[in-house]
Symmetry: C2
Subunit: 187 residues, 2 copies
């Protein structure tokens, strides 16, 4: 678990054993079964989660209880309702396990401690945040400019493994089309 986190961080910044030992004190390990909600809409969001194994699903239910998938979080992803986390407000989204999942949990105090006490970790999170922002802009562009079939093909090209792990209904909720339409794309 922790070793996975270390490898993940060290892809960005090198850490000595002592440094990583200190970093790791900020995390708690948790394990959840499939279909467990790490948090639901309206609840406090006390952690961001590093996915060591499994698959998470950040989703939003609209007024008609229709499900919209903001993101999937596979291994080595960080996930949370970041707005609620950073602003200490209640979640507008829910975070669900699509598979049995092991996560490392980081509180906001822990996050601030890591960022301010160790410059490397500040750099690490800055880089992750920039990457997340860039990825989101790519997805916005994809939603603006491509139809559902093209978006499907982009995922097929960019993260083929994901397609093996999520249902077509979930994929449709991520692509922004009805499951019937996705089914008719004849891919």
């Amino acid at each position: 678990m922790l070793e996975k986190l270390r490898q993940h961080i060290e892809q960005v910044v090198p850490l000595s054993n002592e440094e990583f030992a200190w970093v790791s004190t900020h995390f708690t390990i948790a394990e959840f079964p499939k279909k467990h909600f790490l948090f639901e809409k309206g609840e406090r969001v006390n952690h961001i989660y590093f996915v060591a194994s499994g698959l998470l699903n950040l989703l939003y239910y609209d007024e008609e209880a229709k499900e919209h998938i903001v993101s999937f979080a596979m291994e080595d992803w960080w996930e949370s309702d970041f707005y609620a986390y950073f602003h200490r407000t209640k979640a507008s989204m829910s975070l669900l396990c699509l598979e049995p999942t092991m996560v490392l949990c980081l509180s906001l105090e822990g996050y601030h401690s890591l960022c301010t006490q160790m410059q490397k970790m500040g750099s690490f999170f800055l880089q992750k945040s920039n990457a997340g922002f860039i990825g989101s802009q790519q997805r916005i562009l994809s939603l603006l400019m491509s139809n559902a079939k093209e978006r499907y093909e982009q995922i097929l090209h960019h993260s083929p493994a994901l397609l093996q792990r999520v249902s077509k209904t979930q994929l449709a909720a991520y692509l922004g089309v009805s499951r019937e339409t996705l089914s008719r794309l004849k891919i």
Copy 2:
């Protein structure tokens, strides 16, 4: 100009006169007329831009030369093709002035210098990046779940000033609908 930047930064972290003097050495001032491209697709992206006054437009042209607007950057926004900037690759998008615009330009070296030499600036950019990521996720959700009329109303609610400053054609390219459809929404 620089005073505007200082106020902007100090909304997040306080700065002494000396500190800000040092920070400001990293920026260059530039002014561009309406319709000027700060960079175009295929060019190197040497700076991120802090908009002191005016209005910028980050856009992408698809294969059919159709224009898709990734974002508008008003006063106090930071804008660039962030992927190209951070990876020192060529721009996939173009950055255009919709109004006469004054910007403060920050090179990647300057960015790294600011982040590593002064912890406060690292915190500042981390917070900006997180905010940008959160904002992008909101827009993704809006694209997934709302129709064009609802998206229009969200902008009307969230940044009414913007609607006074961009053409309906540009707004349509931002909302992800044709200008004819936007025109028919009867708002």
